[in-house]
Subunit: 416 residues, 2 copies
């Protein structure tokens, strides 16, 4: 089954928001065997919507539309769907009841006329219940294409996809199986990897595609395939994995299916019954945020400190000022003390620290922009690692956090 | 001038990455008076690329393409451009010199054959120098349309847009002026706002569009207009702003042109020569990360603590355990102590804290999911504020940080 996604909203086309809905929808469709052929973002403009609907219908079996379902005048998707399907809006009592319920239970304010209009839906649409908002999802079948329209608010759309759209698609259609396997590597550029695995790539069966995705000091290699039989795909993927792994042994970190790197580390910590504490300087809280953005961090994370100012490294983290004077605040010695002291303060099993200069200009030390030290303290001792991360602030921070996570993973695996 | 953006890459269509390039490109084009008509994301598939190029050319004057320029086999944009323009690849000496220089100075590894192929470009293309990578940008004029092809790596693409594409577009074309004004509001839903400002909306001149953008406890109202004369637009926008502001006085926070809320707060802190320290529990480092992701935070940020575990609130932040026993760790009293103690520990002018339960399940307290207390301490005393933020973890955290930033802004403005 081939799908297209149409996201509607002026805010996307003027760059006021990043369209994250498309990536989410693509990823969950992919998991149930629906491949996305095109993603199109357009303004709230009737003629353009009609053109995009027709173009998508001519190419695919499933058209997923988000946005333009709000109660205000700038939202025109519902009226345009009526025009496209030669249909009319009619009052849907179950939607009206749901909107009334939401206002009574959650909004706790009187319902306005505009809110009631949310219950007007095209007569040809089947309703998909939106638990988190007043705009219902709509499922409209026309010739051989299914149109699904959902609000653009991400958590409402996600609720609709999970609770309504995906189960219905799986029930109604016989979907093939799509399989991706993504190998995370670090320390080598994509051209060098391509040269090294050239023979492997040339010998890949035509049914398997290989892609290279470079980002923040790593390259992801993705093998993709699809077909009607899961067994066959998995066997073929296992064969190729077995061929590829020895070729990239020295640069391979893990599979992406294991989750984000911080999730891999989190799982290792929980499995080994270990806790961590974090002391961040140049990474400014991004390391702890990587852990806490997922639920369950309280199982292994004792806490963290961001000691941005040099004085706070001394006052709060107890770094020895004579060490700072002697070696500079951006040094292996300071990174080590930060890691050890964070571990001691928070009474954790592991302490990890960053100190460096992410730029754009020099800070409390003379260290060149991009210089980063990472300290790792355990019961067995402390190590500090030196890196040059380039001169682009966001990338320096992102690469430093990735590197710290890799060091954490290695030390947990090694020391158990 | 009307533009379309085409982003190329299987990783977008399977949802492995979020396409952030389009939002960036749209936003910077908009600022120089180019409006984006459509954004299209497609796979690395020759037939589909050709179809998308033709469709975009038929609708617009400018087609901006990102992605598919890597040195590996999955990247086919350059060959497809040749086919589309009936052109051939030829070796460009200046690109080859640049690639050779990058390898010598930065990569410090021998150049591979694959890297040299980066210097093969369509003969009809003018080269745009990519300071940050080996794939050059390309500018191809065909009939009345300009095609621009850039690599998909965000920082390479951004460098090309800033240094090459935008200046050239401004030089070569007479562009109109596009003006947006975005009003940030909080505390009222979009329908209620729409009802309140209905007369204003109905009386808006046809040249000005109004949009409502709800997100994380706020609604942004955006007025947009465009035309050849900046003066005329600014005058008209000033008139409408003067009409709208009194209608939303009680819910208005500021204009979006002032930057992200944390940037507004950062500027206020620097202007008032004040420093802050942050103690976070339920927000898990996201507040400090909002500040440190921008440069220059060391001017006003002394540091932060994430005290996730209750014991670390006692050990490190010095919260009184009897207060925790009496009022629970999620309470106004604990929030107040956290803010006061963070201020004292870091020797800052202001201390701000969060404690609450972001979910998904209950933590170290019995507080209902969504319960959040925010403490603000200054030299004049401490206040704690109670909120119910719903039951969606990411939204609870996001709304809490927004609310904390609003409280910070208010206190700096008030106490100066």
């Amino acid at each position: 089954m081939k799908a297209e996604i149409i996201t509607i909203g002026d805010e996307i086309l003027i760059g006021q928001i990043v369209d994250t809905n498309s990536a989410y929808i693509s990823s969950v469709l992919n998991k149930i065997g629906v491949s996305v052929y095109q993603i199109t973002s357009i303004q709230d403009d009737k003629a353009h919507l009609l053109e995009a609907f027709a173009a998508a219908q001519s190419r695919t079996d499933l058209v997923i539309i988000t946005g333009g379902l709000g109660p205000t005048k700038d939202d025109i998707t519902k009226h345009t769907l009526c025009e496209y399907f030669n249909d009319e809006l009619e009052l849907n009592q179950s939607v009206l009841d749901h909107v009334t319920y939401l206002f009574k239970e959650y909004v706790k304010k009187p319902m306005l006329e505009a809110n009631k209009t949310q219950a007007l839906v095209p007569s040809k649409a089947q309703i998909l219940v939106n638990k988190f908002g007043t705009a219902p999802g709509m499922w409209i079948e026309d010739k051989d294409t299914v149109f699904i329209s959902m609000p653009g608010v991400p958590y409402e759309m996600k609720g609709l996809m999970e609770n309504e759209v995906l189960p219905r698609l799986q029930e109604q259609f016989k979907l093939p199986y799509i399989l991706h396997k993504t190998f995370l590597t670090y320390g080598m550029g994509e051209s060098a990897i391509a040269e090294r695995i050239e023979t492997f790539e040339n010998e890949l069966p035509a049914t398997i595609k290989l892609a290279y995705l470079p980002s923040l000091g790593r390259v992801r290699l993705r093998l993709s395939t699809s077909g009607p039989e899961q067994d066959v795909l998995e066997k073929e993927m296992a064969i190729q994995t077995k061929k590829l792994l020895p070729l990239i042994d020295d640069i391979f970190i893990g599979f992406e299916s294991d989750g984000e790197l911080e999730e891999v580390v989190a799982k290792l910590l929980v499995d080994h019954n270990k806790t961590i504490a974090i002391a961040e300087s140049c990474t400014g809280g991004q390391m702890v945020e990587r852990f806490t953005k997922h639920g369950g961090a309280s199982q292994y994370l004792k806490g963290s400190l961001v000691t941005y100012a040099t004085q706070s490294k001394i006052d709060i983290l107890g770094v020895d000022p004579t060490v700072i004077d002697k070696h500079s605040v951006v040094s292996a010695e300071v990174a080590s003390q930060m890691a050890v002291n964070a571990k001691r303060l928070y009474k954790s099993d592991i302490g990890i620290s960053t100190t460096g200069n992410a730029g754009p200009s020099k800070g409390d030390s003379d260290a060149e922009v991009g210089t980063v030290y990472i300290g790792v303290a355990t019961d067995k001792g402390v190590t500090a690692h030196h890196f040059m991360m380039g001169n682009h602030r966001k990338r320096v921070i992102g690469k430093s956090v990735n590197k710290a996570l890799e060091l954490l993973r290695d030390v947990i695996r090694k020391e158990g």
